[in-house]
């Protein structure tokens, strides 16, 4: 048995990825659950409109962080602010009692707001928009669509690509007269389509089975999904370039999947997280897809109000997808397996290829 234990430790020390997971995962979980696992939102973005707006600001409890105070504006403006996702609650004054419009698509913020306003008695009437019954399923399903896209795009795609390397067919593709771009697009197009079909099915089931509203524009939703899909497919391609086996790809995919689930605002509200871990959430693509899916489906928000989420996803898509496909292309390009990089430029003529005189292919 001693020999077995020694052998196991030796293998473990050599398998640095597993070793890193054994060390990193507990720390990651500790940090995430310690700092991010919090359903109580202690500060909410607030607006006050109407003639007594200033008065509301001065009398409201400290949890209401007023970012918009416009005495000249009315209820329509307040609803627009909520639809655009700029505030979580908007107080409409100039009427008795004061009307508090709450964004129900931000579930935990809305629950905290309703709880606080109930203590205010009859002076405030509360109206929850976009998710009047504060149903968890209404906010979870738009986010789960993103999770499914992440699962297909990252995990399944990376396994599919790594399988080529495991089977040794990657080198076969490398010597065939097929352009690396065609290989990459040919490999990921099926996953793109499968993910798109999955997304459609889950969205329709969410609407039919759970009554989740789809208040926005389908094309705006599809655009966000397509951008997000390019990002997660890029991550999948990237994982495949740094993994030799499907097991390694799964390990890495889960390592990237876990923070997306916990830190994207899908389960725990970003506003409730400690600032030290919240910034991680803002680096994750699922954060922005969740903003778009909840915004479009629940609030009926358009591209103009969610433009920053689209822009960030577009930038991520370009950077991640381009970087990952370039890495993948390098694996397919002639000479990639040489210890000296690859020979650049176009395909050689049928005649003769000469190595550089100084050694080390360009």
């Amino acid at each position: 048995m001693r020999a077995m234990i020694v052998k196991e430790f030796r293998e473990l020390v050599r398998d640095r990825r597993t070793l890193a997971m054994l060390v990193v995962m507990p720390l990651l979980l500790l940090i995430i659950f310690g700092y991010a696992a919090n359903f109580y939102v202690s500060s909410v973005r607030s607006a006050a409109v109407g003639p007594q707006a200033e008065q509301v600001v001065s009398q409201a409890p400290a949890m209401f962080d007023f970012t918009v105070v416009e005495p000249s504006e009315g209820q329509a403006d307040a609803e627009q602010l909520l639809q655009d996702g700029k505030v979580d609650v908007a107080f409409v004054t100039g009427r008795q009692p004061v009307l508090a419009l709450v964004d129900g698509s931000n579930l935990f913020a809305a629950q905290s707001i309703v709880g606080a306003l109930n203590k205010a008695g009859n002076s405030v009437t509360t109206q929850v928009l976009y998710n009047p019954d504060l149903k968890t399923s209404w906010v979870m399903i738009p986010a789960i669509i993103g999770l499914i896209l992440t699962f297909v795009g990252t995990l399944i795609t990376s396994i599919g690509l790594v399988r080529e390397r495991e089977q040794g067919t990657m080198e076969q593709l490398a010597v065939m007269p097929i352009r690396p771009t065609a290989v990459i697009l040919g490999k990921i197009a099926p996953y793109f389509l499968v993910a798109a079909v999955d997304m459609t099915i889950v969205t329709l089931l969410g609407v039919w089975l759970f009554g989740v509203p789809f208040n926005g524009n389908v094309l705006a939703f599809a655009l966000g999904a397509a951008l997000f899909l390019f990002v997660v497919l890029g991550v999948g391609v990237f994982i495949s370039t740094v993994s030799e086996t499907a097991g390694q790809a799964i390990q890495l995919a889960f390592l990237l999947l876990l923070p997306q689930i916990l830190l994207s605002g899908m389960i725990f509200p970003l506003e409730a997280m400690a600032a030290g871990v919240r910034w991680i959430g803002y680096l994750l693509p699922l954060t922005y897809f969740t903003m778009i899916s909840r915004g479009v489906m629940l609030r009926g928000a358009g591209i103009e109000s969610l433009w920053y989420a689209y822009l960030i996803l577009a930038v991520m898509a370009v950077v991640v997808f381009t970087g990952a496909t370039l890495r993948f292309r390098r694996d397919l390009a002639p000479g990639a397996r040489s210890g000296h990089g690859r020979r650049g430029g176009k395909e050689p003529e049928p005649a003769t290829v000469t190595a550089p005189a100084t050694g080390g292919a360009a």
């Binding site: 040794g168 067919t169 080198e171 007269p177 020979r343 190595a355």
Partner: protein
């Protein structure tokens, strides 16, 4: 047309995998690259198909569309059937419709795989899978066919089938180069290239290699100089590079295995003496 490499050198980090190797591959003939594990056979073949960049020297090979390659791995997609594997590769090389169907039928019949046409590659035996890989490398009738250990790990009957396919391919005018660790089958090739630690020990036809072999090989129950000897069957063979063997030793007529081992030992002992 003649393909090949000239003064080829490939390094992986500090290790030189192929060192100043030249070989000419003639159309219509089979060249066997022979050598032990780590001799540089696979690297040389990969350099030929331009999958590995040279650090020195030149490669002369046809375009990808006239190049066929069977890697050391299975060479086929496990999840696809035999027919689907050939159709995929045929499609990449521009074959379609009836032309592809006819070529597929011809290759599978020659390889004895017709009955397995709808079987997934993952369910084929090792020999059948290598033959499928060979068919895939051959589907477009390449001018240069590069086979990396096509017969390793397969049974003797399948090896005979594979050799028949290889010979037929060369007879049709293709230049065929294959690596192998089986010296008996290497003897069948028109040309031999013996590699050891990345260097070419000798090359030429089997007759030329035998005729050019210098020294004497003896056999006995025990070796006089262990570092110049090796076990073969129940005896030990011993190489005397200068034909200065002691009297009374039984001299053997060397076959290719004896020659390859003897030349490898000579190269290593010379290296050892130099350091």
């Amino acid at each position: 047309m003649t393909f090949g490499v000239r003064s080829a050198r490939v390094r992986y980090g500090d290790r030189t995998a192929v060192d100043d190797v030249s070989v000419e591959l003639d159309a219509g003939s089979v060249t066997a690259v022979v050598g032990g594990d780590g001799a540089g056979k696979t690297t040389l073949l990969r350099a030929l198909v331009r999958e590995v960049a040279l650090d020195g020297g030149t490669v002369t090979a046809p375009d990808k569309d006239r190049l066929g390659y069977l890697p050391a791995s299975s060479g086929s997609w496990a999840g696809l059937t035999v027919a689907q594997n050939i159709d995929f590769v045929g499609g990449v090389f521009g074959l379609a419709g009836e032309a592809l169907a006819a070529r597929r039928a011809e290759l599978l019949a020659a390889a004895g795989l017709t009955a397995a046409v709808d079987r997934p590659a993952s369910q084929l035996s090792g020999g059948m899978r290598r033959k499928l890989g060979f068919c895939m490398a051959m589907v477009h009738e390449p001018a240069l066919l590069v086979l990396d250990e096509p017969s390793t790990g397969i049974d003797p009957v399948s090896r005979i089938d594979l050799w028949r396919l290889i010979s037929e391919t060369a007879a049709r005018g293709a230049a065929v180069v294959m690596s192998t660790t089986y010296l008996d089958e290497a003897e069948r090739a028109a040309r031999l290239l013996v590699l050891d630690r990345g260097r070419a020990l000798v090359q030429g036809s089997y007759d030329e290699v035998r005729a050019g072999f210098v020294g004497t090989i003896t056999r006995d129950r025990a070796a006089v100089r262990p570092h110049w000897s090796w076990r073969r069957g129940r005896e030990r063979r011993e190489y005397w590079p200068d034909a200065d063997q002691p009297a009374g030793q039984a001299v053997v007529e060397p076959d290719l295995e004896d020659i390859v081992v003897a030349l490898s030992l000579a190269a290593r002992n010379r290296e050892g003496a130099a350091t």
